[in-house]
Symmetry: C3
Subunit: 470 residues, 3 copies
């Protein structure tokens, strides 16, 4: 890993690089807007919260890291990833760290490599590259820092200059940590996001218990589709009262289609009784996406839709280690016809704001840019997950912006549960943006004034506006 | 928008830029070949034709422009887009122009932005960038020019150095304006193109009237598939007599499949009686594409096929404002198997020339380049519609040319109804071509002689040859 | 075609070019690893083997070349391509060569053009570019060399510095040429690869005869699925004894799915009796891919899977000229769900090594990089066929490496039957690799040490390791 260069990620062409450097300098000190991510709000609820060991912070919970190690034959067990059975995985954090260091070369040229390099140098002030030889010494260095007050999440939050951070929370989440944060008087906004997949995806294990819980939390007796909708609306209102600005929805595809209330109720009843037909889950989800859009027109929550991941592809890993273990694989995705029913209902409604995310880059130029470049309700989210990388961003700028224009995109979000990687991820985006804007400027496609306005929009304004964070 | 730079759109690398500049200089003064587009022939029928107001010329008819404004919540009504009902839309052209100027920033980094910039500076000689403040003053400037003789279409045609321009005309079009142009003795060729979608797509509203009209025009009593074919052949002959070099066909997908005459007639009869089965329209279209290819082998008209647009995606906009209102959205497209029946019939026939267009760039390297790099009848058309842009062209060169070679492509066409944007569009293509050829030259993949030949072919020869315009 | 430049294929940017040049210099003299290709082992069996005429060596057998000529209306017959009927094609090799020279411009900017240029200058020491005028003179030059001892395959092998070359051989191949090579005591390894498509694809013409032949060769009476498996296992053992390191499998799509033994046997019986159901071939192939993976876990042969070519697209060419005549066209391909059954069975088995190849680049970032970046058994093969080109490699590096990391890829293979093009093809890969690694280095994403390690891995180590050629 290289010493961080002031010109990292910029084109080597001197003319473009110089423009990119100047553009970047204009936004380098702007606060970070984090409107979508998976940081645990507990970090901020306890003012004295401490991260665990380096391994606990950086490796065990980060599927970007352990998926790469797993791909080279290192078992998740030996990396300390906990089993759903409760049976023990490796507990020697120094040993895990050593394995990580021994295989650090695997991350050459990857975004994870870039983020780690940035974290090591700017968050932990490491001077040397991690190697097999210095692994334990670096472990000590990081470990020592993690014990210090300076590395408490609230302190890092200030150091990272994060203006606002949104978490992702299930419909049945009580938001107790958010409440504690508010009660503590800490001023930096940590806002919940309403993600009701737990109660909308009727084929997910445990759905019925979630419905029961939803009933308890809302005081609704959820015996019908009508009471179910009411309970969801109630819960949205609660989230809004706790500062939520947005909802989030995962779907394996972008199918939408409106049902009659009675048809929706029929499926809902079958789900309650555990007697679903084959397509019920998809049909119900496609209907609910339209209902959830309708609710957004009424309560103003920005709607996010993340489409196209085949979750838990590796059945063995899922059985032993559970969800989110690096074995979700993207699927080819169709938007044009799938999302048309929703858009014909609410796509031109000025009250709806719907941000789309894809894992299928072939839809950027073909479907998504044309869609967001027409429908007033739509915005395109930043490159997501596997595409949240320097080259992924280049492809996004290249394939989206000419048709959509930047003002139909939603800026950047880091989508991460790896808290100390947040500055690194925004750093890549801001530099990639600067380099792209510079590439237009140096080719005479825009002028200086345009370039400066675009730079600021990409780095800061678009995300803030898209999520109503003003 | 920047002052037009002499090196616009070229790589910033000094070596590549210098080569690109030299290559471009070789073709900069070649006349424009416009073998496919949607300019209204009326412009040239009346030698004294005047364009209306700036708003009438540049905004109201241009869906590239108003779709972007619509995407940001500006109603089509307020932009003066006429309603099918005849109810009034905004008629204050200065007010519409002001709205456009207020939102001109939306076009930053888009091809529309580049074209407008080029038009404003080279066609209208504007010295300042359009802003909210100078909007009315610029309106006056353009308006004044549009009233002058210099800005009559025939005069602009000469100024634009357009060697030949092909229009797009329905099978039932009488070509009266083309006749008037011929009668007037004006020497610059304005040629019709035979686009029989109106009589081939049997599920389109109004198809039966079009068939009746086709009968009247051809003197055929169209009561059977056989007489229908005869009428189409008759009409092709008429178009040829009026100078047509090509046909054009739109299809939602690339499906082709041969029917027996009796099967074709059965569908045709159902269509006449308005009693079609679900798949009749697609099956008939797939059959007719093969029949139309057969006709091309007989009468020599070059065949164009434009595939993969989901028309009128926004039902509300379609209902109120009708066709071509910026809400057509591309679809994933399959060519390999779909078009095989046609190619197995006529793909190796030396008399057929079939030019393919796609909105699905994932087919460039995967299907289209391999197809046109094998079948003698096939050529690939330039990047189409949403992909007619600097970066779209780069992706096209990148993904098509290694497999297809440039000589299996059809050069450029502007495909526009926005007449004053024609030079701007060709300018982007010629510069993008120069930069791409320079990128090969500077990497030692071709030599100087190759580069010069390729440059001229891309800028001029290929389009002329592909459409038999010699 | 240009004089070969020392900096060919590198970025023109001076900083990146200089780094690329240095990186390339480190690997330029490393021997070539050729783990997958279609060179005829006969070339090496006879120590006195001579290539025929220039036309026989370079044109008649090379579908990359004659497909391009065919696409411009030149008949395969006139190019000397033999007919399956035995009827004569053009036999005047000088005339064919002249046609080739007259159309040499078609290869401008194509990989074939680059390879030919490299061959002409480095293998045949030509000083002038091939033209219509010098065609016969150059024919004489090449022809003279081909008659000399220096141009015998074994001599070229040493000159090309090929460390190991793997051929591709049917399950029913006797490997007699491989045996002759071994017996001759020639030391350079020419290894067979087990490609059992001939006995696995039950819908291929001649399958039954192949099964009979398989029975003869293995001494198995193949009357059941069980005896069929045994015969295949027997044959794998024979190939292993002859030095095979890998198997290879072609499939029109990536479908896999496990059958019960009785279900597999039922299909097998129907195949023996020529009474297959519509989907039998696909279902059986999908099952056999899992069985073949199972065999690889047992005998250690690396498994290769090449997916997504619609073979013999042009029925007329196939009927007259047979297989591999440049009319195979890629298909959109789905991996995520298709290959999941195989991966859930063996994807995490440390004994399996499965190398995937695609013709659908949209799967690089979407499916393949995420898959190979997770499953320990998987590696991604290099850009294949139409994508084996400078720009194809760039897209591969761009779209694969950030998610997969280079260590989950299999380095390069040339996949060619055109023996004298081998150095040219590796030259493109090594230079493309150097330029890509340099692009990361100059952007501060990796450091010098990383760059050097990655360069060597891409040029040499990865291929050797992926195929167990150590």
């Amino acid at each position: 890993m290289p010493k961080l260069s002031a010109d990292r990620y910029f084109s080597p062409d001197p003319a473009q690089r110089s423009l990119a450097r100047d553009l970047y300098a204009q936004v380098a000190d702007l606060p970070l807007i984090c409107p979508h991510g998976h940081v645990d709000p507990r970090l901020f609820a306890d003012p004295d919260y401490k991260f665990g060991s380096p391994t606990e912070l950086l490796i065990i919970p980060d599927h970007y890291i352990f998926r790469m190690l797993y791909s080279q034959g290192i078992s998740l067990e030996s990396l300390g990833v906990p089993k759903v059975s409760g049976e023990p995985s490796e507990t020697d954090h120094r040993k895990i760290w050593q394995t990580f260091a021994d295989h650090f070369y695997l991350f050459r040229g990857t975004p994870t490599g870039c983020w780690l390099n940035h974290e090591f140098q700017t968050v932990f002030q490491l001077e040397n590259k991690l190697t097999s030889d210095n692994a334990q010494q670096i472990y000590d260095q990081i470990d020592g820092q993690l014990q210090s007050e300076e590395f408490q999440p609230r302190r890092l939050h200030e150091r990272f200059n994060i203006e606002v951070l949104c978490t992702t929370d299930m419909a049945t989440d009580t938001l107790e940590h958010h409440q504690t944060i508010r009660d503590s008087g800490w001023s930096s906004p940590i806002l919940p996001t309403f993600r009701p997949d737990d109660v909308v995806l009727i084929d997910q294990p445990g759905w019925l218990q979630k419905i029961e819980r939803l009933g308890e939390l809302t005081g609704e007796s959820i015996i019908s589709y009508a009471s179910y909708l009411k309970a969801i609306e109630n819960r949205r209102e609660f989230f809004r009262s706790m500062g939520a600005k947005a909802t989030d929805h995962a779907a394996v595809n972008a199918y939408t289609g409106k049902l009659s209330d009675s048809a929706a109720d029929a499926i809902f009843q079958r789900a309650l009784q555990g007697k679903m037909n084959d397509d019920d889950a998809q049909i119900f989800r496609g209907h609910m996406l339209i209902e959830l859009a309708r609710m957004s027109t009424e309560d103003g929550l920005v709607m996010q839709l993340h489409v196209g991941s085949d979750r838990n592809h590796n059945g063995n890993v899922f059985d032993v280690f559970g969800l989110d273990k690096g074995c979700d694989i993207p699927l080819a995705t169709e938007f044009t016809r799938s999302i048309r029913p929703l858009l014909n209902e609410f796509g031109s409604d000025p009250r709806l704001s719907l941000i789309l995310f894809t894992l299928d880059e072939s839809t950027y130029a073909r479907e998504l840019a044309p869609l967001v470049g027409h429908y007033p309700s739509l915005k395109l989210g930043p490159p997501w997950w596997f595409h949240d990388s320097l080259h992924g961003m280049r492809r996004y700028f290249d394939q989206v912006m000419e048709t959509a224009g930047i003002y139909n995109t939603a800026g950047f979000n880091d989508d991460t549960r790896a808290y100390p990687s947040i500055p690194a991820r925004h750093d890549v985006w801001r530099r990639a943006s600067a380099d792209w804007v510079a590439s237009l400027l140096v080719r005479g496609m825009i002028d200086d004034q345009d370039a400066q306005a675009m730079m600021r929009a990409l780095a800061y304004d678009l995300a803030k506006q898209a999520y109503n964070l003003d």
